[in-house]
């Protein structure tokens, strides 16, 4: 009986460790997928690229929502965009992403947003760029 009980305990421990490893893998995958899309670095990079390539069209309207689970503080100054994420979970990286762009957007600053809109239009033969953001 003692031997069976020991084997039972070992089986339970092994099963728990296996479950722990499987659950960890799923959780880590979820976290990495989520944060690779929602990190400040990625959002700054995507936004600055959208802002630059908007200049390659005659007129365009780009809407970008990186995630609905987090929000960002955005600062645009001297053709440099800074995105600082606000995450509710402790394990998320809080580092801001800073990226340059090449088109003539005016300086702008907004807090706690996660939906971004980039508009380019031609007004009297001149390119006009607009950036706006809101929380969804």
């Amino acid at each position: 009986m003692k031997g069976i009980s020991l084997i039972g305990i070992i089986v339970v421990i092994l099963a728990t460790v296996a479950l722990f490893l499987w659950v960890s893998k799923e959780i880590f995958n979820f976290i990495i997928n989520t944060f690779s899309q929602a990190s400040g670095e990625n959002v700054a990079r995507q936004l600055s690229n959208f802002m630059t390539v908007s200049g390659a069209s005659y007129a365009c309207k780009i809407t970008y929502i990186p995630t609905r689970e987090a929000t960002y503080n955005i600062q645009i100054k001297s053709r440099i965009l800074k995105a600082s994420p606000i995450f509710n979970v402790p394990y998320a990286e809080k580092t801001s992403g800073i990226h340059p762009f090449a088109t003539n957007f005016t300086d702008y600053q907004i807090k706690d947003v996660n939906s971004f809109m980039i508009i380019k239009r031609m007004v009297s033969g001149e390119a006009k760029y607009e950036f706006s953001a809101k929380k969804v």
């Binding site: 630059t52 390539v53 053709r79 402790p90 394990y91 990286e93 033969g125 001149e126």
Partner: protein
């Protein structure tokens, strides 16, 4: 040992097993909590050649820009550059600094437009390899906001000028000359953190429209050197 005692013993073992199991479960929860609240932080790192990507983006913006592209009846012809509008660039010479509202900040945005139908010896028949040909070129350094103190665009331009032979866009093919020129233009404190520049290696194909309506095959090369 009677029947009742045996029953109690079984109950004790079960209770103890449940308590052990709960204890073990609590330890796992504690490990998870410690891991995610204290020890674990997700850092994202993305691998890409940022400068090359910036060069490609900038070239795409330039070939669509109303400042350079050919326009007719309010329509902008993407990829067709107007020779008249290219007059803001320097023809066959040292590039000058130009502000057309396009260009990366804290960077040297070097643009060169080459008319490949004017090359001598002709290079279109060699598959567009114009390294050894002399062609008509228009070049400029696009002005973006410079927030770095002590950085001298003028020094860079004169250094690049030394590397350009008239009518020969040789500097496009030798980005190491750029690197040398950027290093000369930077204050010594910044030399160590200089980001390597990259030229859009083979340029984007374009057409150049002359006032008489002629269309020539050409290429636009864009180099971004970030400081």
């Amino acid at each position: 040992m009677n029947f009742r005692q045996k029953k109690c013993k079984g109950l004790t073992i079960t209770l103890s097993a449940i308590l052990e199991g709960l204890f073990f479960f609590a330890i796992i929860i504690l490990i998870f909590w410690l891991l995610f609240s204290r020890l674990y932080e997700v850092h994202t790192m993305m691998g890409q050649v940022a400068i090359e990507r910036q060069s490609i983006n900038l070239a795409n913006v330039l070939i669509s820009s109303e400042k350079l592209a050919y326009e007719q009846n309010g329509k902008i012809y993407r990829g067709i550059l107007d020779a008249e509008k290219l007059k803001i660039f320097t023809k066959n010479g040292e590039p000058t600094e130009v502000d057309i509202g396009i260009g990366y900040p804290n960077s040297l945005n070097v643009v060169l437009v080459m008319d490949m139908e004017t090359c001598n010896p002709p290079c279109l028949v060699q598959g567009g390899d114009c390294k050894n040909s002399i062609c008509d070129t228009w070049s400029a350094i696009l002005k973006g906001p410079i927030l770095i103190e002590g950085f001298s665009t003028i020094k860079f331009i004169s250094c690049i000028g030394e590397n350009i032979k008239l009518g020969r866009a040789i500097f496009v093919w030798y980005p190491q000359d750029w690197e040398k020129c950027v290093r000369n233009s930077l204050p010594s404190s910044l030399n160590l953190i200089f980001t390597r520049g990259a030229a859009l290696s083979y340029g984007l194909p374009i057409l150049i429209r002359y006032p008489n309506g002629d269309l020539h095959l050409g290429r636009i090369f864009v180099g971004v050197v970030s400081v």
